[in-house]
């Protein structure tokens, strides 16, 4: 089934998109790293990775004139890390308006005793709603996080993680998916998440 996948990874300009491409390669799927609207529109699946600050990433999408293209995607679309944060209405990081595909504002973790920011490390997922994206997941699946900002828990939340507070770990609204963790660096659990996403038709 994965053989029919034509994946477009939107080139959001981060320094380490390479690791995502290698993770996709390990699943036997070819991907194209691109800012070409036609390639993105014609892909069966689209991933928006994000490394760096939300305002910078958003600025790069605007300069590449990709915002309308992204807003009109009908195929399964996954935002990862900052790429997921951009799906929301706005982010406190640089006080920037984002894509607004999902409701809510992304906020910084407050300073809490014993909880360093950035939140960096492995945590499990607490599953709130079943979804094809979380097929075969259990609460023993740990994923790898590196982030200082997080999205609130809401109706679009499929799974949460607890770090001083519950935040949205995995989200979905119709064809729009988001993962705050780095599936490309989350060992077998991350590979399962990517495989599940690419199996959604």
């Amino acid at each position: 089934m994965l053989s029919s996948v034509r994946l477009a990874i939107i080139d959001s300009g981060g320094a380490n998109i390479a690791s995502l491409r290698y993770a996709i390669e390990r699943l036997g799927v070819a991907s194209e790293l691109t800012t070409d609207k036609l390639v993105i529109r014609n892909a069966t699946h689209v991933i928006l990775p994000g490394v760096g600050a939300a305002a910078d990433c958003m600025g790069r999408l605007e300069r590449a004139d990709l915002v309308d293209t992204i807003l009109n995607l009908q195929q399964p679309f996954l935002g990862i890390c900052v790429g997921m944060q951009l799906l929301f209405e706005s982010s406190e990081e640089g006080d920037v308006d984002c894509l607004g595909l999902l409701p809510g504002r992304v906020r910084r973790f407050p300073d809490r005793e014993g909880l360093p920011v950035p939140h960096m490390g492995w945590n499990n997922l607490e599953i709130q709603h079943p979804s094809p994206l979380l097929k075969n997941f259990t609460e023993q699946d740990y994923v790898y996080y590196v982030h200082s900002y997080c999205a609130p828990v809401s109706d679009v939340t499929l799974a949460t993680t607890h770090y001083g507070e519950h935040f949205s770990a995995i989200v979905q609204h119709e064809n729009i998916f988001g993962a705050q963790c780095h599936p490309e660096r989350s060992a077998k659990s991350g590979a399962l998440l990517l495989k599940n996403f690419l199996s959604i038709e």
Binding site: A15, N16, A18, S19, Y22, A23, E25, R26, V51, G52, A53, D111, G114, P116, V117, P118, M120, G121, W122, Q140, Y142, Y144, V146, H147, S148, H182, E184, R185, S186, A187, K188, G190, A191
Partner: protein
């Protein structure tokens, strides 16, 4: 986990695969190919590692500029770790964190107790050049955080390689002023040492090399032990 000894790339890939399969949560590679004279070096080994690893990894050693860091990250590393170059050029931390984000920038600190205080040592990779950097460890820990370190690896030199346990006294002091993830390094010799560094010094991670390379401690056994001791880790 550290790869500090001279091993050829094929061996590194075998070792990295082994630790990946055994459940290591992160790997640190000390890049011994890095030149002390600033000439361009071949870093394609990083790509080969990035293609087979599905866990985060950090490259340490020889990164003295934004351009070198960009090359390492571009090859697929998640993080870069700087130590002696940060002491010679502290602003390097600012430049790296503003270019790549604090989450990429690990600062390694080699520290030991001198006359009842903790002091930072520089050039510890070369015993003939190792010297007191004339900085107090607590001052340097504060400064690197202000400059944009996203993680600190504190290598307690007196403990390093002797396998008598992490330097809990020093780690506790640094933990109190360290608001970013703190990784303990130096001294691991038994599973209890890992338990103690988490429960007593409250570090975010424990780094070890020789006990894993030698096979004295197997990672799956260590993880089972720590879970049994109620420490929350990835199984």
């Amino acid at each position: 986990m550290r790869f500090r000894d001279h091993v050829v790339v094929g061996d590194i890939i075998d070792l990295a695969s082994r630790y990946r399969d055994e459940g290591a949560d992160e790997l640190v590679f000390y890049d011994i190919t890095a030149s002390p004279h600033g000439r361009t070096v071949d870093r394609s080994w990083i790509t080969r590692i990035a293609k087979i690893l599905d866990i985060p990894f950090c490259v340490a050693g020889g990164i003295k500029s934004v351009a070198e860091a960009e090359q390492v990250l571009g090859e697929g590393a998640e993080k870069i770790s700087i130590n002696s170059p940060a002491l010679s050029d502290p602003d390097l931390i600012n430049r790296l964190s503003s270019r790549f984000g604090v989450q990429c920038v690990v600062v390694g600190i080699d520290s030991q107790t001198v006359d009842g205080d903790f002091r930072v040592y520089q050039f510890t990779g070369d015993p003939t050049r190792t010297r007191d950097s004339a900085r107090r460890t607590v001052d340097w820990v504060r400064e690197v955080q202000e400059r944009g370190a996203g993680e600190i690896v504190l290598n307690c030199m007196a403990s390093d390689g002797v396998r008598t346990g992490y330097d809990l006294a020093q780690l506790k002091v640094v933990r109190q002023i360290c608001k970013v993830p703190l990784i303990a390094s130096g001294g691991a010799g038994a599973p209890e040492h890992f338990r103690d560094v988490f429960t007593e010094a409250h570090v975010d991670g424990a780094l070890a090399a020789s006990v894993f390379h030698s096979g004295n401690i197997a990672i799956p056994d260590l993880k089972q032990y720590l879970i049994g001791e109620h420490i929350e880790i990835r199984p």
